[in-house]
Symmetry: C2
Subunit: 213 residues, 2 copies
Amino acid sequence: MITVYGYSVSGNCHKLRLLLEQLGHEYRWVEIDSSQGATRTPEYLAKNANGKVPMLELEDGRILVESNAILCYLAEGSRYLPADAWLRAQALSWMFFEQYSHEPYIAVARFICGWTPLDSPRRADLPRLRERGNQALAVMETHLQSAEWFTGADYGIADIALFAYTDVAHHGGFDLAPFPALRNWLARVRNQSGFVAMPEPPAENAALLAHID
Amino acid sequence: MITVYGYSVSGNCHKLRLLLEQLGHEYRWVEIDSSQGATRTPEYLAKNANGKVPMLELEDGRILVESNAILCYLAEGSRYLPADAWLRAQALSWMFFEQYSHEPYIAVARFICGWTPLDSPRRADLPRLRERGNQALAVMETHLQSAEWFTGADYGIADIALFAYTDVAHHGGFDLAPFPALRNWLARVRNQSGFVAMPEPPAENAALLAHID
């Protein structure tokens, strides 16, 4: 059986849980609290020198890292990743957009709000992160004004990749009211067969998230 | 014929030129100086709402963005992207690493050093960018201590993606002396058939790069 090493309240990790549940794929989940240094132990770094979650381990011990690369690997041959070369390229394009232009602002703002102390100097970054994150949301809104999904006619792994942190963007102080097409898309994702929501953050983090800067 | 819209001294854009030359693929190159706002015109944004280079346009007008997604699309079926599912996943993994853990530090440090004024407040970011960039170089060094390339036994698009900014890391003030395996890998890439180097930056940028902070 495959093993996922992940932190359940991380969007990057939740992407894998969501796809695996929708595929009906058996897996073992090993909880790794990356917020407490669990990806920086010598044992973990020996498997992933970049010290991040999620990480996929095959039954024979082979390792794959990077959430969106794992999505591609697991979705191969399924309805969640088309065989058509152009559609696959579009899916990849949106997944690279997610990791470069979306996650570094929307996920990082959430992390700062919920996983750093109220007096953290990192909170000074929030206005810039929100400005850049809103630009990413606007790019998604433009696309969704004329398309139902991020890859062709069907829901797939590009939607999963973009959904993960967009659905909890409010944790980082983002307001989705100006993005109606995006809000409708979030609702369509939640209605997909086999959908599972990301768990609520632990109490300590939820308390910090209640104090949005 | 396909058209690449790119800024020749951008590593993300040079990735495409290097692959296309190695493939012997005909293409038209339209120079877009992203450092002077050429990706923010209404005409450009109509094709790419995210306002970045490179961008690929097919003969029928279809658009593909994100450098590494374009590499995957163009390399399909060639020696530069294996057919094996596990090797493809590893190639993608390194390409996501490049965009998330490498480019935002190594390319951004280079941009700040060569494309912003000597009194730019952004120069205060350089120590942090260099610390994080060196972490990425160390991850590459660890891999290259036991592997010749980033995907299995052969040179391919993961090498192209990682080469682009690593080869000009010195522009951002990075010292590759502590990374001997990485320096040997750079030399192996330069020796590949069809290799083309990125052009030198324009004089104005070269002058700024001569004043490393």
